[in-house]
Amino acid sequence: MHDAATHDDSKGQYFWVWGALLVLTAVEVVLAYRQVFEAVRMLEVLLFLSVIKSALIIGYFMHLKFERALMRWLLVLSVTACFVIMYFFFFPDADRILKLGVK
């Protein structure tokens, strides 16, 4: 099962990552529940935190960090690219509905 990629097998880092994820989750909950920022800013902050979280999960728990750079980039970039273009083309229309929608 072990491939050539050399990686640091120390288990410790996984516990750190796990802890960090739990803390981040807690932070998110508190931020959201206390309504620390105003709406849009809040969304940005939460989105930012979630991206960090998923990066940690995918990187460590799913071991993407330990794959070849080529694979890492290809996978991450292609999926991200899909979302980015969806973002740019889907949402302006959703926004139009606010303006053009039948009241």
Partner: protein, 576 residues
């Protein structure tokens, strides 16, 4: 599951393991092939009924009876869906890709044979489910292959929108799952199971095309799957993802707040990559065959690879060109339009390179070559209407007219189908150990090329004159009644073309049993499938793994003994 290689060497015994639930990619490929063949005949029969109804709306056909407008639309929907999904996504990729890709890269099988079997049988279930839609109350759905809600989301919006529409969506969802499994398998196989020396840049262009097709499928089908699930929820649980507050026939529906455009975005996000999924394998096959029968290396191998890669890449950024008139933000239309035009550039590169490959070659007109040449001709004719449609201002006039129907039939309905024909004639000897009849193949080619042009070229004229598509008859709008003579001509052309397809199947089945035995390399081609026996043994190369020393298209190499150098031939000094 990781059985050692020795187990693989002898084939499983017993009918079921050998022919039905076989894990052998070759058997699965053939299964896909026959599934697609069945589907194409269903689809063709539907198009025949459509063409008849358009011209003689009141005519009562034997067995079928009189076709009502809503039944016309059901035929149309099923024709489009079956052709796009169960023919053009199934035969070139699932059929020939499955059969040939592992052999061409020197692998004994696909990376995940069980998954491979599952994806075939899932596709099969999808096909059965979609056919079932004909036989339920209300009949097959009438919302077109694009299934735009609210029409497709409301069971009261028309006959066929009841259980039939649910079955249609379910079938598509099943098909998505099957294609995802297939795509995953193709990519992994290409990445991991290439024989020694088969570097990426030595892969035949067919392998590249299946590989890129699989990548497109992997990224696109998941989106359609989600879209379909949401549509099912809208239909059955009363949610409103796609349906705003609407009133059908005076009855206020329970939905509110959804957006029909959301479906269009999701569908076309899948849909445009899908049309390239349909054509890319055809491009690969054409490249392979043109090079083989011109006895010349492919012109600009690297350019071909990069062109396909960029078609795949841009393919994900142009979906909005189907939505110029949909109420989408007009600013997006700008971006989509430019990106769509950009996709013409790699297509242009490919066309030039095909011509460049034939230039100063020694063209041998075996049947596969004829189809490959036909492919180029049709691809150009169908493709050049693309830049018209890609400009929003022109699309104002042309959207949802027969111009579009002409565009996609030429490039998809015939060019990609010609890819299948070419592949069939080319690989038939390898797959079944016998040659197909050349004379009848050529007769079929000439009738089909002329016939399909006769059906689909006039569609462009109709479209410019304003003939809207998806009309079951043309008697209601005055300016369209003037176009009926041309439509009638097309119907007659369709009769002849469809009749000619029987030449093909009869030739196919006759050759299957009676054709002359084929040698290992009847076309004097260079790629790996021609190095093994005909038909190949269970593990493709009889226990050895080939070693590759040459690029895929080494024809006419100076200093070589023959006019071609097989990929496995020992290295020569001085050549690549």
């Amino acid at each position: 599951m990781a059985t050692p290689a020795t187990v693989h060497a002898h084939a499983p015994q017993g009918f079921i393991r050998k022919y039905i639930f076989s894990l052998d990619h070759k058997v699965i490929g053939i299964q896909y092939f026959f599934l697609a063949l069945t589907a194409v005949f269903v689809g063709m029969f539907l198009s025949l009924l459509m063409r008849i109804h358009m011209i003689w709306p009141a005519y009562s056909l034997p067995l079928v009876g009189e076709i009502k407008p809503e039944q016309y639309l059901s035929l149309l929907t099923m024709h489009g869906t079956i052709m796009v999904f169960f023919v053009l996504t199934t035969a070139p990729q699932g059929g020939f890709g499955n059969y040939v890709l592992p052999i061409q890269i020197g692998a004994p099988d696909m990376a995940f044979p069980v998954l491979n079997m599952l994806s075939f049988w899932t596709t099969f279930v999808g096909f059965v489910v979609i056919l079932a839609a004909f036989f339920v109350t209300g009949g097959a759905p009438l919302h077109g292959w694009t299934g735009y809600p609210p029409l497709s989301a409301l069971s009261s919006a028309g006959p066929g929108e009841q259980l039939g529409a649910d079955l249609w969506i379910t079938s598509i969802a099943i098909f998505c799952v099957a294609s995802l499994m297939g795509a995953l398998n193709f990519i992994t196989t290409t990445l991991d199971l290439r024989a020694k020396g088969m570097t990426m840049m030595r892969m035949p262009l067919t392998v590249w095309s299946w590989f890129i097709t699989a990548i497109l499928g992997l990224l696109a089908f998941g989106v359609l799957l989600s879209a379909g699930i949401l549509l099912l929820l809208d239909r059955n649980l009363g949610t409103s993802f796609y349906v705003p507050l609407v009133v059908v026939n005076g009855v206020v529906m329970g939905h509110k707040g959804g957006s029909p455009l959301l479906w269009q975005h999701l569908f076309w996000f899948f849909g445009h990559p899908e049309v390239y999924i349909a054509i890319l394998p055809g491009m690969g096959v054409a490249s392979q065959i043109l090079s083989t029968f011109s006895r010349k290396p492919i012109f600009g191998y690297k350019a071909m690879v990069y062109a396909m890669l960029s078609i795949g890449f841009f393919g994900f950024m142009v979906w909005g060109h189907h939505m110029f008139m949909s109420g989408m933000s007009p600013y997006s239309a700008f971006a989509f339009s430019i990106l769509t035009m950009c996709i013409g550039v790699p297509s242009a590169i490919k066309t030039f390179n095909w011509l460049g490959t034939m230039w100063k070659g020694h063209l041998r007109f075996h049947t596969p070559m004829l189809y490959a040449i036909g492919f180029v001709s049709l691809f150009v004719s169908g493709g050049l209407s693309g830049p018209f449609l890609a400009q929003p201002v022109l699309d104002i006039q042309l959207h949802d007219t027969y111009f579009v129907v002409g565009h996609f039939h030429l490039i998809m309905g015939v060019a990609a189908i010609f890819g299948i024909f070419a592949a069939t004639h080319y690989w038939f000897p390898k797959m079944f150990g016998r040659m197909m009849n050349e004379t009848w193949g050529k007769v079929h080619f000439f009738i089909t090329l002329a016939g399909t042009y006769a059906i689909f070229m006039p569609m462009h004229y109709l479209g410019m004159a304003g003939q809207t598509r998806r009309y079951s008859q043309f008697t209601e709008v005055a300016y369209q009644t003037k176009l009926i003579p041309l439509q009638t001509f097309m119907t007659y052309a369709a009769f002849i073309t469809i009749a000619a397809q029987f030449i093909f199947v009869i030739n196919l089945f006759w050759s299957l049993f009676k054709g002359p035995k084929a040698s290992d390399n009847p076309w004097e081609a260079t790629t790996l499938e021609w190095t093994t026996t005909t038909p190949p043994p269970h593990d493709n190369f009889g226990g050895v793994t080939p070693v590759v020393n040459h690029g895929p298209y080494e024809y006419g190499v100076p200093g070589a003994a023959k006019d071609y150098v097989m990929q496995t031939d020992p290295p020569m000094s001085g050549a690549h």
